[in-house]
């Protein structure tokens, strides 16, 4: 589904990704772990198409389509969803309005009919309910005045409504208490644990992986995948630390 080959990227002329290669097949959940500054967030931004993150070499395709040639909204319409580490506030724009416009823009790009206001609200209500989020929060401006935990839940509600093919979740577990962690973990499983979908979980810690069991775990260090393994690798990292990898 997602094929990344020898990806090099710079931020402000500074090389961050230095030949990253990774393949996600349908139905798989991959975790990417690694120390601060290894390039984890850069990986998510490069795949999302954020301006300022320049690809200098390598390729990335989603279902055979060249991701790197597309604008961010075109990647979204292909089915790529980015869960933000720091979800952004948009004052004066309600979640409902934001998501309906975004979803219908994606549908239009794919040649699908727009969802009516009623149909959209039904979907939104279901997804919000599943995340324990009440509709009042969906009517509030996007992320404005939300606590860290609320923002992360809101990302999951958005993911549920948009129903992407591929989710790249950047430290979705950060800032969550233990109950919220369970809710978010359940959300990821419910929405994305399907044979035709894939997830790239970017995280520092093993704890989210207690709830979302990865099929593969990769260690990212200095812009490259330095080690790959099964779920047990995450436990080993938790025990030994990233320092042991340098050896």
């Amino acid at each position: 589904m997602l094929k990344i080959n020898n990806l090099h990227a710079t931020v402000a002329d500074k090389p961050i990704l230095k030949g990253l290669t990774l393949t996600l097949n349908p139905g798989e959940i991959h975790a990417v772990m690694g120390p601060n500054g290894a390039g984890k967030s850069t990986l998510s931004y490069v795949l999302g198409g954020r301006p300022g993150y320049e690809v200098t070499d390598g390729t990335a395709t989603l279902d055979g389509q060249d991701l790197l040639a597309l604008a961010p909204h075109e990647r979204a319409a292909l089915g790529l969803f980015l869960g933000f580490q720091y979800p952004v506030e948009i004052p004066g724009v309600s979640n409902v309005q934001f998501l309906r416009e975004a979803l219908n823009a994606q549908r239009k790009a794919r040649g699908e009919a727009a969802l009516s206001a009623g149909d959209f609200l039904r979907v939104a209500r279901t997804q919000a309910g599943a995340m324990g989020v009440d509709m009042d929060m969906l009517k509030r401006p996007v992320n404005v005045g939300f606590s860290g935990g609320e923002k992360k839940r809101n990302e999951m509600v958005q993911m549920g409504i948009i129903d992407p093919k591929l989710a790249i979740l950047d430290e979705t577990d950060s800032g969550l208490d233990i109950d919220a962690l369970r809710v978010v973990g359940d959300g990821i499983n419910r929405i994305m644990r399907k044979p035709d979908k894939a997830v790239l979980l970017i995280t520092h810690y093993q704890r989210l992986l207690d709830y979302v069991k990865p099929d593969f775990v990769h260690v990212l260090a200095d812009g490259r995948i330095v080690r790959s393994g099964g779920a047990e690798l995450a436990l080993e990292l938790e025990r030994e630390g990233y320092g042991a990898l340098a050896a």
Binding site: A71, H73, A76, I90, G92, V93, F98, L99, I162
Partner: protein
């Protein structure tokens, strides 16, 4: 000169036989090009005005000749050749309309481009059975479709073109005309007094809540025809009226001068809500063409507990010079000003309000949202003045600017003059740019860059947009997006 006058009078006579007119491709009756006493007399004659009105116009014209154009605004305006314009144009053909099929397709094309819904087009074109928004359409200079007059009259509301009102209700018009905005108020207001072509008159009698929203659409269609609208709205004791004014103009290459005057009077316990969506042609991306929009709008809250609320969405015009104001003379009177001003490319806007507090316990609220893009300049200029005898005045001002490019300007010029120590004045101001974070977040969710900008800008302007009547708010939201097309790359 005498011959010219005779010609004018003859033309006026001929014109008065035309009942209704509504097309953009029709012949026009023009006043002679240029500005002179003859022009003033021609217009007055066309309107069959009483002697006192002509005298008033001439007095204004003579005074105008002694004035110079003010230059205190942050606007860069080339000299205007007042002799190179027509001051009066009247459409000729006036069909009777049963359905939209009978409306000139040229007009329908214009409506479509502006995204005016079919239902509204019907109202606009005066089709029978259209929904209940009373429209007094000013097509060029003459009011050509006045609807729902009967229902309004049953309620005692007078909703007329100002020309008709001057002829039919001189006792109502005369005491108030020029009372709120005096003839000598300023250069452009004085010019308007001399040559105003048409406009709207509304009178809502004591205790009457106007049964519908009143709406006027202004459009400029004749090349080189200055537009000088004049509006007077009087809400008598305990009356309420909501008035909508929308302006759109088709593309024109020549600069067009527009100098309107709006006067509002609210007596005891009366309330007037005045909403504007202004979308005159802004000029092209290189700053060529576009409307020069010099507007004097002022409300007199004369009565106790009276209230006037101005809401404006300003997206058009090459130059906007406009300060809808409230003179809060009555005790406990309330003035509000909600504004969104968008400038793109080479547009210039210098707009804001004046809240003049004279009455005790008078209150005012100012919410201004300026959005600048391209190489445009957008200035908020506002005055809050508290007179020495105005006890316990309160004002709150919120003034936000949003920048979309690095070549545009946003300026805030607040004037605060307080002569009574019991006043509480608050002023808050912010300036921000649309952040890269917001853009990427919105685009990652599926919006293209223009949709993302429109969404973020509408959120920024929400406090103002939500003051608009529902049907207007939707149109205004669309307009903000359209006005900023091409402003991000």
């Amino acid at each position: 000169m005498a011959t010219r006058n005779q010609e004018a009078l003859a033309a006026a006579e001929k014109a008065s036989t035309y009942e209704w007119g509504f097309t953009s491709d029709v012949e026009q009756d023009f006043a002679p090009k240029g500005l002179s006493e003859d022009t003033v007399r021609y217009i007055s004659a066309k309107k069959n005005e009483p002697e006192w009105m002509l005298d008033w116009r001439l007095k204004a014209f003579r005074h105008w000749l002694t004035l110079e154009r003010p230059d205190w605004a942050k606007l860069n305006i080339p000299p205007i050749d007042y002799q190179d314009a027509y001051y009066y144009a009247e459409p000729k053909v006036k069909p009777t309309i049963g359905s939209l099929d009978e409306v000139d397709p040229e007009i329908l094309k214009v409506y479509e481009k502006l995204g005016i819904p079919i239902a509204e087009q019907k109202v606009l074109a005066g089709v029978e059975g259209a929904p209940k928004v009373a429209v007094d359409a000013v097509f060029d200079s003459v009011s050509v479709a006045t609807t729902f007059r009967k229902e309004l009259e049953a309620a005692g509301v007078i909703f007329r073109s100002i020309s008709e009102a001057i002829r039919e209700f001189p006792d109502l018009v005369r005491p108030w005309l020029g009372k709120v905005v005096p003839m000598r108020d300023n250069y452009f207001a004085t010019l308007n007094c001399a040559v105003f072509s048409d406009g709207t008159f509304v009178y809502v009698p004591k205790g009457v809540r106007c049964p519908m929203e009143l709406s006027t659409y202004f459009r400029i269609n004749a090349e080189n025809t200055g537009q000088f609208e004049r509006t007077l709205i009087i809400a008598d004791d305990g009356a309420y009226v909501s008035y909508l004014e929308g302006c759109t103009a088709p593309m024109r290459d020549e600069n067009q001068l527009h100098a309107a005057v709006v006067e509002l009077v609210a007596l005891d316990d009366a309330e007037i809500k005045y909403s504007t969506v202004q979308n005159w042609y802004p000029g092209d991306a290189e700053g060529k063409g576009g409307i020069y929009n010099f507007v004097t709008k002022r409300a007199l809250c004369q009565g106790r507990n009276s209230k006037v609320s101005w809401t404006q969405v300003e997206t058009g015009s090459a130059v906007t010079w406009k300060y809808p104001s409230c003179v809060l003379a009555g005790d406990n009177s309330v003035g509000e000003f909600y504004s969104v001003a968008v400038t793109n490319n080479y547009q210039q806007a210098d707009t804001g309000t004046k809240m003049i507090h004279l009455g005790k316990n008078s209150r005012s609220t100012i919410v201004s949202k300026g959005i600048s893009a391209g190489k445009s300049n957008n200035t908020y200029r506002g005055l809050v003045r508290v007179g020495p005898t105005a006890e316990n005045v309160r004002n709150f001002t919120q003034c936000d600017s949003l920048l979309l490019s690095s070549d545009c300007g946003a300026h805030t010029v607040p004037y605060i003059e307080v002569k009574n120590p019991s006043a509480q004045i608050e002023h808050e101001a912010t300036t921000s740019k649309i952040s890269d974070d917001q853009m990427f977040y919105a685009m990652q969710r599926g919006l293209d860059s223009e949709q993302a900008v429109a969404l973020i800008v509408n959120g920024f302007a929400k406090d103002v947009l939500q003051q608009l009547p529902m049907e207007f708010a939707v149109e205004a939201q669309k307009l903000l997006g359209v006005s900023l097309e091409g402003s991000v790359g």
